[in-house]
């Protein structure tokens, strides 16, 4: 059997990583030499981080423009309620991670007068008309404690 315990132990403490670690490549996966067989990607790259952050920064003005086609029917006409009034969005370009499938994730902070600042992981996708938001998950400020078995 393969030895996995050391990997698990390392991962258990490394689930949260600094955005500075974003420079990566899928060629790290399990150390396989088969990576050479994979054709070159034309997917979004780490270099798209600035464009993604800029799109999010413009969102408070026209949130409907950032609705991904895939979720348009779910959101309908409620896009303006997605952000508190006067909100600004600041995305951390260092946290941009392309997913290899046309999109990626980035960490973004939403601030608004009178509202608590919220940090989101934002799932983005690149459509012909620009970067769109697929969905978000708010990030709790710290990891929940590990439940005892």
């Amino acid at each position: 059997m393969r030895a996995r315990s050391s990997q698990f132990a390392a991962l258990a403490v490394a689930v949260v990583v600094l955005g500075g670690g974003a420079a990566f490549g899928w060629h790290h996966w399990h150390g396989s030499d088969d990576k050479a067989a994979l054709p070159a990607t034309t997917q979004p790259t780490p270099g798209d981080a600035h464009a993604v952050a800029a799109a999010l920064a413009r969102m408070p003005g026209k949130p409907q423009d950032l609705i991904a086609t895939d979720v348009r029917s779910a959101i309908g006409t409620q896009a303006k309620q997605a952000l508190p009034g006067g909100a600004t969005i600041s995305a951390n370009e260092a946290t941009w991670h392309p997913d290899g499938l046309g999109g990626g994730t980035i960490t973004a902070t939403v601030s608004a007068p009178g509202s608590p600042t919220t940090v989101y992981t934002v799932m983005m996708i690149k459509e012909p008309t620009g970067w769109k938001v697929v969905g978000t998950v708010p990030m709790a400020p710290s990891a929940p404690k590990v439940a005892k078995p």
Partner: protein, 721 residues
């Protein structure tokens, strides 16, 4: 390998000494044929031990043949089975659908299959084309060629075992590229481990338009991949989410295969469906995630209670689509995200049944992930059962199964199950029901036949049953069974002939139609010896679920007797006559026609005690009771040849017009015929009326008249070919 080369494989095999690289050869270490000539597949070496620690030995089934089982891996293309255990079917079984793994890892999936008698396990490794669409020459076409080759070489249809997108390669190869030109005659079953029939869930992420399915799985899949990316440059177990999903996403999301694996893509919808006679079975992972915080900033427009992520790479619905059977391995998680604005997302997938694994989800293997499905103990057991049954189903029933068959009610005895070839519970003096091949094992091939009566591609079994009642009477029956020993139907031959005694010579099956050859009685037969041969076809009637007998045709001694009669009268001995009588009898008949009276007519009778129609003159000549009880066989049927005047014309037809034959005394010669098999008779003696003799010689033993020709056989039972 193209088809022309494949067609030449048989010849190449013969020439293996001179063309060793192109011929299939039997691997010395395994017994199963290797596949050196079959392109991209290779025989998996045996590197496992059975679960009980014993050595796994490849061996043929009881027909002496191997069924090719081809392992087709996921997009990585890695299937080679070796000590590195990096092939997707080579990892020991260390997981369970219940989450409780085996106490010790069991033999790998390949090892489990190699332990099945008749299984020849081949791996199709296409890593050089990893991630490409299945029309790549190294994937679908290569697999198709390998199937052609190995099935031709082994003479058996193949079974394909696929993992993940290897199922798409299998479909390309099996369904073919032109309707009607599929490999449905070469492949019986495709068994998928997480193999989607209508696209990859990951590939669906490339769909920037409106998806045809709920968007929640796509959103969460993208989130998981992003979280994995945030953990770089960590190295992950290749069977964990972050070790398997991002590489697959990267591979299938690139330009070469972009969108091809996505549901509804032109490439995918262009694949033909599996031929209807190819069965699909499925093993699926089923990950359900609660994501209460999934939203669109402040909005909560999504269903978040139980988002199904399938096996992370393919949806459960896509994997089980069209499956004849399916098993699922499930996990339930609750998703939480944490971190600060300076951090990439930190995710937890908390499992209520294994809470300690929550933080380590990214690198932890679980029984519900697509990458891990080939490691699940219960799945392997189910797969083994499927393969074992299929190979078993391709074989006819064995002797022990035959002697335990269920039998219908016959000649007054109730239905029941044979034990040791006999129906139990019948008192010794009440007759018996028995498998004919048990009663007379030397005639097994006459009494037992295998053929596909039901046209389902699987051999059925037809047996002969012997039945007697308390009086020692009863007719044979035939009964047909499917490969699972289920009674398909039966025919009792007395129902066909309406005669009480019917004895089967032989039963056969060809192209869904069976044939019975048997003998039966007529009123004038002696009790020992039925003299009428009969034949009838029978078929399986799906509308009634039983056997249906066709038209009855019967035969007796008339044909051969007439041939001998003609030989005697004309002196011309036909081939048929020569084969049915020794020369001395034929010569005596010719001489009698010449010297003792021309042959006028012929009529055959049973033994005179049973046959009241004997002419009185003949009884007076040969005795009131013919044949005599002198310990020799005089025949089963007795043909009386009416003799004309000596020296008269050869036939009435040649008498001149107006000629009136003088009155002739009524005299008969006697030709004894013995029934020696199906439509087969032998003349055993020729007798002239009492007091006469011929120039043909003879061995008058004083038994009832004049010259006797031929050698009556010592007494005995009926003869069979």
């Amino acid at each position: 390998m193209n088809r022309h080369l494949r067609l030449g494989l048989g010849a190449l095999t013969v020439l293996s000494l001179t063309l060793p690289t192109t011929a299939l050869a039997r691997a010395a270490s395994t017994g199963a044929p290797n596949a050196a000539a079959c392109g991209s597949i290779e025989l998996a070496p045996i590197i496992d031990h059975a679960d009980d620690g014993s050595k796994i030995t490849s061996r043929p089934d009881r027909r002496g043949v191997y069924v090719p089982i081809i392992m087709v891996p996921d997009w990585t293309g890695r299937a080679t089975h070796d000590a590195t255990r990096t092939g997707e079917f080579s990892v020991p079984l260390d997981m369970s659908t219940t989450g409780t793994p085996p106490a010790t890892p069991r033999a790998s999936l390949i090892g489990q299959l190699q332990n099945i008698p008749g299984a020849a396990v081949y791996t199709f490794d296409y890593r050089a084309s990893a991630g490409k669409w299945v029309d790549d020459p190294g994937i679908g076409p290569a697999l198709g060629d390998a199937i052609d080759c190995v099935t031709a070489a082994l003479g058996q249809k193949a079974i394909l075992i696929t993992h993940g997108l290897g199922g798409t390669a299998a479909r390309y190869a099996v369904a073919g590229q032109v309707a009607g030109h599929d490999r449905g005659n070469e492949v019986t079953t495709v068994i998928g481990f997480g193999s989607p029939q209508n696209g990859s869930q990951l590939a669906d992420l490339t769909n920037t338009g409106v998806g045809t399915t709920a968007s929640e799985p796509r959103i969460l899949s993208r989130l998981l991949i992003g979280a994995c990316a945030g953990l770089a440059p960590a190295r992950f177990d290749p069977y964990s989410p972050c070790g398997s999903i991002p590489p697959e996403a990267a591979a299938i999301g690139v330009s070469g295969a972009a969108g091809s694996y996505r549901a509804g893509s032109a490439a995918l919808t262009g694949l033909l469906p599996y031929p209807p006679n190819v069965a699909l079975d499925s093993f699926a992972g089923d990950v359900a995630v609660k994501a209460p915080n999934l939203g669109w900033f402040n909005l909560r427009p999504f269903r978040t209670d139980q988002v199904s992520l399938g096996d992370l790479a393919a949806s459960t619905a896509a994997v089980t689509l069209g499956a004849r059977s399916q098993l699922r391995s499930t996990c339930s998680f609750t998703l939480n995200a944490f971190g600060t604005g300076e951090q990439s997302v930190g995710l937890r997938l908390d499992d209520a049944t294994a809470p300690q694994l929550g933080p380590a989800w990214a690198g932890t293997v679980r029984q519900c992930y697509g990458a891990d499905l080939t490691r699940i103990s219960e799945f392997a057991d189910s797969l083994t059962a499927l393969i074992t049954k299929e190979i078993r189903d391709r074989q006819p029933l064995d002797t022990s199964e035959l002697e335990s068959l269920p039998v219908p009610s016959l000649c007054g005895h109730p239905a029941g199950n044979l034990v040791g070839g006999y129906l139990p519970g019948i008192p010794p003096d009440q007759g018996e029901v028995a498998l004919a091949s048990t009663v007379d094992p030397s005639r097994f091939k006459d009494y037992t036949v295998f053929g596909d009566l039901t046209n389902d591609g699987v051999p059925d079994t037809v047996v002969v049953l012997k039945c007697t009642n308390a009086n020692g009477q009863g007719a044979d029956a035939i009964a047909a069974y499917d490969n699972g020993a289920t009674l398909l139907g039966s025919v009792s031959l007395d129902a066909v002939t309406d005669r009480p005694r019917d004895e089967v010579y032989q039963v056969s099956v060809s192209k869904e139609t069976g044939r019975i050859d048997w003998r039966t009685t007529r009123d004038t037969d002696s009790p020992c010896c039925p003299t009428v041969d009969a034949t009838a076809t029978f078929t399986y009637d799906p509308s009634t679920g039983g056997l249906k007998a066709g038209k009855l045709t019967s035969f007796n001694e008339t044909e051969i007797a007439a041939a001998l009669f003609d030989a005697g009268r004309t002196g011309k001995v036909s081939k048929k006559a020569a084969g049915m009588a020794p020369p001395e009898i034929i010569n005596a008949m010719i001489a009698a026609n010449r010297d003792n009276g021309i042959f006028r007519s012929l009529a055959c009778y049973g033994p005179s005690p049973q046959d009241a129609s004997w002419p009185a003159v003949a009884k007076a000549d040969f005795g009131d009771s013919w044949p005599p009880s002198d310990g020799t066989r005089h025949g089963d049927r007795f043909c009386l040849i009416k003799l004309g005047a000596t020296g008269a014309g050869p036939t009435y037809a040649q008498d001149p017009a107006g000629f009136t034959a003088p009155p002739e005394p009524e005299r008969y010669a006697l030709l004894g015929l013995e029934h020696v098999g199906f439509r087969n008779w032998m003349a055993v003696e020729f007798r002239l009326p009492g007091g006469e003799d011929t120039t043909g010689g003879g061995n008058d033993n004083g038994g009832g008249g004049g010259g006797i020709f031929g050698t009556p056989r010592p007494g005995g039972g009926p003869l069979f070919p």
